[in-house]
């Protein structure tokens, strides 16, 4: 299982698209800090750090579904089958590994915003607990967006359609889930449940295909 997760992460780490997304994400956060670091005019009801945290979540929702759609291996169903046959792993395990891998990758990409969040946190003079809570929520949003996109790509068999569906579903999900620690837990649980459900579905759906192809 660990090898499957690492395979997904390390495969993605060699793709320029992932690094492009990381650099875009960080550069956009820097620009946000420089332009609206002390708060967006007409949005003074929320503190600058809350505005930054919202911007970070929005960026994650914008960037990560595309990264996941580009780097996941589940879009190519034949390749997925061949991998299952060669590795003698069950499709469910392969899907679980892919889900955990993209979630880990997404959290790593989201974590690159931490230095900028630290700056915003100092600008706002917010409590340390608020920084931790905001970063955990961003990580949960990233994991949720990644797993939903993985499932969408897997179900549609198309990276483009998967990206659109995954991004839309993740956005709706983040919008529906309340703010705060409860929302973070809900998003994390949702990401885990989606991955497990996708694995179960893959087990039922791919098992016979694998045998048939073999």
């Amino acid at each position: 299982m660990r090898a499957l997760v690492w395979r997904q992460v390390l495969g993605a780490a060699r793709l320029p698209v992932v690094w492009g997304a990381v650099l875009f994400h960080v550069a956009a956060l820097v620009a946000f800090l420089l332009v609206w670091g002390t708060g967006i005019p007409l949005a003074d009801a929320r503190s600058p750090f809350e505005q930054f945290a919202s911007a970070q979540s929005a960026l994650v929702l914008l960037v990560l579904p595309w990264v996941v759609a580009r780097c996941t291996t589940v879009a190519d169903r034949d390749a997925f089958l061949r991998l299952a046959v060669r590795s003698t792993d069950r499709p469910a395990m392969l899907m679980l590994g892919a889900g955990a891998g993209v979630a880990l990758l997404a959290i790593a990409v989201a974590a690159t915003g931490l230095p900028l969040a630290l700056l915003s946190h100092q600008i706002s003079d917010a409590p340390a607990l608020q920084l931790m809570a905001a970063q955990m929520r961003t990580a949960a949003v990233a994991a949720c967006a990644a797993t939903l996109t993985l499932v969408a790509v897997s179900a549609s068999g198309s990276r483009l359609a998967g990206w659109v569906m995954g991004a839309a579903a993740a956005t709706v999900m983040v919008w529906l889930v309340p703010a705060g620690a409860r929302g973070t837990v809900l998003l994390s649980l949702f990401a885990a449940v989606v991955t497990v459900a996708a694995a179960q579905h893959a087990q039922r759906f791919w098992q016979y295909r694998a045998e048939y192809r073999a």
């Binding site: 690492w6 390390l10 780490a13 492009g20 960080v26 420089l34 609206w36 690159t112 230095p115 630290l118």
Partner: protein, 454 residues
């Protein structure tokens, strides 16, 4: 009746804590004060304990003065405060906040209306009588030591003859009389007032540069990591360790913003007016400023002038002054990275920038400061060539404009010059302070003493 009420105002209230220090206080000049004018409050703290650390807080209407107080040995200390409030009540509160139970006393003060004259009579001691024309009476040793203490007073009378004064009292009284004459001539009202400096929205420039520097360093690390991961075959853990190291380095750079390098300085944007008091070495400084703090944490800006004040406007119109243990005005508190705080400062400072030598038909103006002055303008009534830049030691020779055998009146400041040098630089214990802005220096002709006070 006035004398009786003044005497009531001079009542000294005493409060003693069950164990420890005791307070006595007097308020006003001779127990009287005007709304919106500086009012002296003298507090005496007697401390029998070997050590006392706390704050002395004086509250009058919506004005609060808070001074740090430290006693390293038993003793008595007399402290003079100056407050002003438009919400003047007939008593003010003095409170000693220490480690034990706070001590609070209420001090009565008589309010003199704006349409009422305030004639202050100086008497030999408190027991001596005074004329019925006195609004308030004060013994000579209790006269204010700062010109600010006379702001409410129209006239100082000596019904029993002039007494000897301490040098600081004598100097303050002379300055008051000169300023009163300047005010009656209308010179002070013709002097420009400092405007609040304008700063753009967003992060302060120095903080923005520091953030950009830290971000550039972080982005460079990520670019290097991206290049090594995508172009070269690296061990499996390279990317994971690299990301963790880059995030750690970026976080360290973020935490270093405002703590190292040139961005660690507090920047004060100011507009100041320095009004020189003719015939003395002193000047009145009025400053409106915005301080930009470079780092999250406690910062204490200090105005190095004991006879001065830093006023902060808080919500609901409250004005708060803070003084440190040495009596210097401070602006301290917990500030966030790039925070801005607007404040006003006033002080009586020594040192003449310009001297105006009135020679009858001609006037000689000399720059006595060590820095160049720009854009000097002569008053109406004076004719002369004011240079674009007046260097240190530079002189402007001007002549009074003569008309039909009479020389014209010089109204307002005889000369107004501008400089980017601050008249007084604020300080901070742990970091440098950069003063940015302009100071207008106003120098007046010495008002003729023949113009008697009404």
């Amino acid at each position: 009746m006035r004398t009786v009420s003044a005497a009531l105002g001079m009542v000294v209230l005493v409060a003693t804590a069950s164990a420890g220090a005791s307070l006595t206080a007097t308020a006003g000049v001779g127990g009287a004060a005007r709304p919106g004018r500086w009012t002296p409050v003298t507090v005496s703290v007697a401390n029998p304990d070997p050590r006392l650390s706390g704050h002395l807080v004086v509250t009058w209407g919506d004005a609060v003065v808070r001074r740090r107080l430290i006693f390293d040995s038993p003793g008595t200390r007399q402290i003079e405060f100056y407050l002003r409030t438009s919400d003047a009540a007939d008593r003010l509160q003095v409170r000693l906040e220490g480690s034990g139970t706070p001590i609070e006393i209420a001090v009565p003060i008589r309010i003199v209306r704006d349409d009422e004259r305030f004639d202050l009579c100086v008497i030999d001691d408190a027991s001596a009588g005074s004329s019925a024309s006195c609004t308030a009476s004060v013994p000579a040793p209790a006269l204010p030591a700062s010109v600010r203490g006379y702001e409410a007073v129209d006239q100082v009378l000596w019904p029993l003859g002039r007494s000897r004064l301490r040098p600081d009292q004598s100097s303050a009284l002379r300055q008051f009389e000169t300023l009163k004459r300047l005010n009656q001539r209308g010179d002070l009202s013709l002097t420009p007032q400092p405007a609040r400096p304008t700063v753009g929205r967003g992060l302060p420039t120095s903080t923005g540069r520091a953030v950009l520097g830290a971000a550039a360093l972080y982005l460079s690390l990520l670019c290097f990591l991206a290049w090594t991961c995508t172009r070269r075959a690296r061990p499996a853990a390279w990317a994971a360790i690299g990301i963790a190291a880059a995030v750690a380095a970026g976080s360290a750079a973020s935490l270093a913003v405002g703590r190292v390098g040139p961005a660690r300085a507090v920047t004060v944007h100011h507009q100041s007016v320095l009004q020189q008091i003719p015939g003395s070495d002193a000047a009145l400084l009025s400053m409106r400023a915005i301080a930009e703090f470079p780092v999250r944490g406690t910062t204490a800006l200090r105005l190095p002038a004991v006879d001065g004040v830093i006023e902060q406007s808080l919500s609901r119109g409250r004005a708060v002054e803070e003084l440190d243990a040495d009596g210097f005005p401070t602006l301290d508190g917990e500030f966030s990275l790039g925070a801005r705080r607007a404040f006003g400062a006033e002080a009586v400072i020594s040192g003449a920038v310009l001297t105006v030598d009135d020679r009858g038909t001609s006037v000689r103006i000399t720059n006595r400061s060590p820095y160049a002055l720009d854009g000097c303008q002569l008053a109406n009534g004076l004719r002369g060539a004011a240079p674009e830049v007046l260097p240190p030691g530079g002189v402007i020779e001007a002549a009074r404009i003569a008309d039909d055998d009479t020389t014209s009146e010089v109204l307002g400041p005889a000369v107004l010059c501008t400089t980017t040098q601050p008249a007084i630089a604020l300080t901070e214990t742990h970091r440098p302070v950069i003063m940015q802005g302009t100071t207008i220096v106003a120098a007046y002709m010495t008002p003729p003493t023949s113009e008697a006070l009404p």
